[in-house]
């Protein structure tokens, strides 16, 4: 049979890119601990999906003191978890640049991937220039097509997070206590798993989980 040996024997990827605030203030009131637990649970849940139509790939960008890649984007089956530490300022703008470079990189996220999901969590205002990097991210060819979620922790001003969502259907979620970080991640996890279980992962009519069920 001529064709069998040519079809790529891997499911199409569904990328999930997390932009996580690990600045010093996240070390207060157990927030960083909740964030570590929530992300770890999300990865474990993705690993347990055995009826997926796509393979979830997870990449994690952190911003605290400096913005950096905490975990390269890899198939979730290969992901292992290293706890993040809270430290320093909030260079969110630099994290937008890293996210844009990652999503535009055809070697890391191929053209056969489904539309990515981007998740942003922060408990404070950016301490660097964020407007230009965010505009570049939202106007870039591929990142502009990503599904986006955002959570503000504490009494954060929602301006940046609202701009990040860029009129997408989702609202900015707010957490008054650390436990709500986990609930937010369960909601994001459910949203992603509903896509990977769907026969049309990129179509808008996918039944979405109701955020009120999680908060």
């Amino acid at each position: 049979m001529a064709l069998k040996e040519y079809a790529i024997p891997e499911a199409r990827p569904l990328p999930v890119v997390l932009l996580l605030d690990v600045s010093g203030s996240m070390g207060v009131d157990g927030k960083i601990g909740s964030l570590n637990t929530a992300v770890k649970e999300m990865i474990e849940t993705f690993k347990e999906q055995d009826d997926s139509q796509a393979e979830v790939h997870v990449g994690i960008i952190t911003f605290g003191n400096s913005a950096q890649i905490h975990q390269e984007i890899i198939p979730v089956s290969e992901a292992s978890w290293n706890d993040m530490q809270a430290n320093g300022s909030t260079p969110m703008g630099a994290s937008f640049d890293i996210a844009r470079e990652l999503i535009e990189d055809r070697e890391k996220i191929s053209g056969r991937a489904y539309r990515p999901t981007m998740v942003l969590i922060s408990d404070g205002q950016p301490t660097d220039d964020w407007e230009n990097p965010l505009s570049s991210l939202l106007n870039s060819e591929r990142a502009s097509k990503a599904f986006r979620f955002a959570m503000g922790i504490g009494t954060i001003d929602d301006v940046v997070l609202t701009r990040f969502l860029d009129d997408q259907e989702n609202r900015v979620f707010n957490a008054d206590e650390a436990d709500q970080i986990k609930k937010f991640f369960r909601f994001v996890t459910m949203s992603v798993t509903s896509r990977v279980q769907s026969k049309s992962p990129d179509e808008p009519e996918i039944v979405k989980p109701d955020p009120d069920d999680f908060f």
Binding site: M1, A2, L3, K4, E5, Y6, A7, I8, P9, E10, A11, R12, S52, Q53, A54, R106, S110, G111, R112, A113, Y114, R115, P116, E141, R142, K145, K199, S200, D202, E203, P204
Partner: protein, 249 residues
């Protein structure tokens, strides 16, 4: 006859199957293909109606016929290829009227071989056109890989004919082949292997009867090896006999 087809050793065939996504939604296949032999040459067309559009199936089927009619008109004149693309858009909108073109959006790929053994391939939207010449050289047209899967342009979406891509080979001699495939196939095959895939399919299928070719290709497309594949899948091929084996690279 001055305009008689003189390509007596040309063969073509194709097959199209419904993907698991449309099957689960109890929708009909939204890919379409057409192959014709006329006095003015040979033509194969492959179209992928966009799944999120309500009349995608009709859009794809009518696009195949619009290309046939447009090529027939175009080949009779010494007109630039832009004339052909404009005519395809015009004929397609005429055929789907009164439906909204956006509701019928479809990709469109075709290969036209004229009586001077010159082949023209063209593509609007994703999928792939592969020309493999008798020496194993590959000329590839493909979709915009800056996008993600299932995000593409097409008839009903493109605002100008500048989004068409095209290529030609002036010596479509024995041993040459062209393959058209919708994205259900092309996105699950490494680009670097498309030339070999073209060669292998022609080599394996050329000895079969037309019915056996169709049945076998349908079977292979239904049993696609990529896990959790979802899309409709279509492949069409056209080649010049004798298809010589020793040039595989």
């Amino acid at each position: 006859m001055d305009n008689e087809n003189t390509n007596n050793s040309i063969e073509y065939f194709g097959a199209s199957v419904r993907g698991p996504s449309n099957k689960s939604k109890k929708k009909l296949k939204e890919d379409a293909w057409l192959g014709v032999k006329r006095s003015w040459g040979y033509l194969i067309v492959t179209c992928d109606g966009m799944g999120s559009k309500e009349s995608a199936r009709k859009g794809a089927k009518e696009a195949c016929h619009a290309v046939r009619d447009a090529v027939q008109l175009w080949q009779a004149y010494d007109a630039p290829i832009e004339f052909l693309f404009n005519t395809i858009h015009l004929f397609w909108e005429y055929r789907i009227f009164p439906l909204d073109p956006n509701d019928c959006a479809t990709t469109c790929l075709f290969a036209y071989l004229n009586n001077e053994n010159e082949i023209t391939t063209a593509q609007l939207g994703d999928g792939v056109c592969v020309i493999r010449d008798k020496n194993g050289n590959i000329d590839l047209l493909d979709g915009d890989d800056s996008e993600f899967t299932n995000n593409t342009t097409g008839l009903g979406i493109a605002k100008s004919i500048e989004q068409w891509r095209y290529s030609s080979l002036k010596t479509f001699v024995p041993g040459s082949a062209v393959l058209l495939a919708t994205d259900g196939v092309s996105e699950d095959v490494e680009k670097s292997r498309l030339g070999d895939m073209t060669y292998d399919i022609v080599s394996e299928y050329k000895g079969m009867s037309p019915r056996k070719r169709w049945e076998t290709l349908c079977y292979e497309l239904r049993n696609w090896a990529t896990p959790h594949h979802l899309d409709d899948k279509t492949i069409t091929l056209l080649w010049a006999e004798p298809y010589v084996m020793e040039n595989k690279i």
